[in-house]
Symmetry: C2
Subunit: 361 residues, 2 copies
DNA sequence: ATTAGCACTCCACTTTATTGAGTGCTAACA
DNA sequence: TGTTAGCACTCAATAAAGTGGAGTGCTAAT
């Protein structure tokens, strides 16, 4: 059996209606809803075919149809193709959407000095705007280089190391050393550290530490060792993936997700965040598939999602990118019958606004 | 009618049984459970009295009794009195509990450099251990003084200010200035900042800023102004209350809290955190009431809690204190029928372990 | 190929037992 | 006077039975 044009039209109508109502869709509804002007009986025949083809399913014998994952897939793929074509209209579209996104822009342009807060705000605003759960990761770098280190004395045997990486990622570390250190030696240590480490990536650092240390084996070997250890540890922690979530309770707005056990599992995943890292795309090898403008937007439907606890949901992710190649992921988690169209649009807008903000900073 | 000794005994038995089972408690159960050796009929009479006195209530005519808030209150107050007397046994008690708290100690003694992570871990471990939702705030200071500031050049017109407060609270701030600054002037600026600001609290700083600025009105007035603004802003943000939560999904373990709307409201409060700040005790004027050992532990039952969304829960909070007078709050949120005894004990242990960790750091 | 018509299915909802835990009350008892 | 056995009564919870309606599949006519 073939999936002819009319079948597709009916399928889309079924899905669209189901997205709106959340109720199984009957033949009569479609007959009236579409401009196909076909009787419900004809629709019924076509729907039977569509069911046989695996695009829709009946929850029980005498009910209407709801989309299967396969059905959603077709719908979403088609929509994405549409979106990609809309490239020209984008300006207008963005302008249109800007009205509803005013609050978003306001929050984003607020003076938030810390990336953390910014990201949390983005997650929050997105959640509020879409009524789905959201997540956002810190930007990730591959081989970030050390810009400079600055050691200063905090207390008798406590040092403060300020570590600045390329892209102005800054980390502090309080180092407790075993022996006191003179002002003069501090200065020396600072110079030593900067001359030998600046411009190195973490991997390069690990390689060179040993040799450097042996070279410098002077009276303060112990301190140098402690300081180096601390710095290496801090840097390796620095690009640890951090994930912020928001709007977990939005899932209670969708009955199909809000029964106790499902909700608990989902919210747990959002709280623990651990498992969400599966949503971060490792490689950008999907280029060929996601053509043009949709580049970096990924829709997971039901079982497609890499996160086990979200197999009853759909997840849409977008990759945002900072000027210096740092990449992060934004994700929206909702019921399978989410408003894919709106979500994809919002994600695109947010992403471009994020770019703006980061460029301005 | 008086609340005689026997009534109290029966009341406690009812509550204890209810805490364990979560089911309304009938007279027959009590008759067998206690060592009072009274028939169920007698218990029934007493229970009728207790109901009239407002300590217990029937969910419906032919059901057993469950405690009212007033009943819980009496039970908890008594328990706290007991706990206070147990001062001598505490050592032993702690030793006993230590077995189950091994994991807690492990996590706490881990090398976590950032207070944030430590607190998050505490919340997490507490939640896992108690099976309730937990929260913990960052330590708060009244008038924290500036230890030193260190300005360094990041890029052409971006400066990095590292701000260290007493108690080694460290903040970074990237300051974008309107004009470039020479290495030499940077040094001057550093000295100026430290000589004029070190040792001052935020309030004092606000006072002195204007005058200092006018004194120094040289070629770099603009930069000085920008830097000062940034520093003041950062410091005032620094002691913003931060709240970490964990174990929100634990509430699904208690049927009385896990219906969709209640759960949603509760989890929302835990996610938003905003409202939780009501649990932080402003003043320590409760000293007289909470005698001895229970100092700093506060039990809120049902409507007693300051957080609106938790009126169906009980909340137990403890104040922890760092050596330098910084105080934070730990909170446990669970059903009214929570295991108060265990919770109070665990909170005390955690608190003392927190003290240890902070002293060691 | 399309459609009107009709018998059939099955969920969702309401109504009507049925059960059993637990009470309140009374009368007897120490 | 306090305690207790006994019994009638209540009421949630569960099961069983009945009803309505939305929607289907099939057939026969167009």
């Amino acid at each position: 059996m073939e999936l002819d044009d009319r079948k597709v039209k009916i399928l889309k109508a079924v899905i669209k209606t189901y997205l709106e109502t959340g109720e199984p869709v009957g033949s009569r509804t479609i007959s009236k809803y579409t401009d196909l002007s076909l009787s419900s009986a004809t629709i019924r025949n076509e729907m039977a075919d569509l069911e046989e083809l695996g695009y829709i399913i009946q929850p029980h014998t005498s009910a209407g149809r709801i989309p299967t994952d396969k059905g959603y897939r077709l719908y979403v793929d088609d929509m994405m193709k549409q979106k990609a074509k809309e490239l020209d209209d984008r300006e207008i579209q963005v302008n249109d959407r800007e009205k509803e996104l005013d609050s978003m822009r306001d929050v984003l342009s607020e003076k938030v000095d810390r990336v953390e807060e910014l990201l949390q705000n983005v997650a929050k605003v997105l959640a509020k705007d879409t009524n789905y759960a959201t997540m956002i990761t810190t930007p990730q770098v591959k081989g970030n280089k050390l810009k400079f280190v600055q050691l200063s004395q905090l207390e008798a045997n406590k040092l403060l190391a300020v570590i600045v990486m390329d892209g102005n990622m800054i980390r502090n570390k309080v180092i407790t050393v075993s022996e006191e250190i003179s002002q003069e030696n501090m200065l020396k240590l600072n110079i030593l550290l900067n001359t030998s480490l600046t411009g190195l990536t973490l991997e390069q650092m690990n390689m060179s530490i040993i040799s450097k240390m042996e070279n410098q084996a002077g009276e303060h070997t112990q301190i140098i060792k402690e300081v180096l250890d601390a710095i290496v540890e801090t840097i390796s922690n620095a690009d640890n993936l951090k994930i912020y979530t928001s709007g977990a309770t939005n899932i209670f707005k969708y009955p199909e997700l809000s029964d106790s056990s499902k909700a608990s599992e989902l919210i747990y995943a959002l709280e623990e965040k651990q498992s969400l890292s599966g949503l971060v795309k490792e490689d950008e090898d999907q280029l060929d598939e996601d053509s043009d403008d949709n580049h970096g937007i990924q829709v997971y439907i039901g079982n497609e999602t890499p996160v086990e606890s979200m197999k009853d949901c759909s997840v849409v992710t977008a990759t945002y990118e900072l000027q210096d190649g740092m990449k992060g992921t934004i994700g929206i988690i909702g019921p399978k019958r989410m408003d894919y169209d709106k979500v994809v649009g919002t994600l695109k807008t947010i992403r471009s606004q994020l770019d703006d903000v980061f460029k301005k900073t």
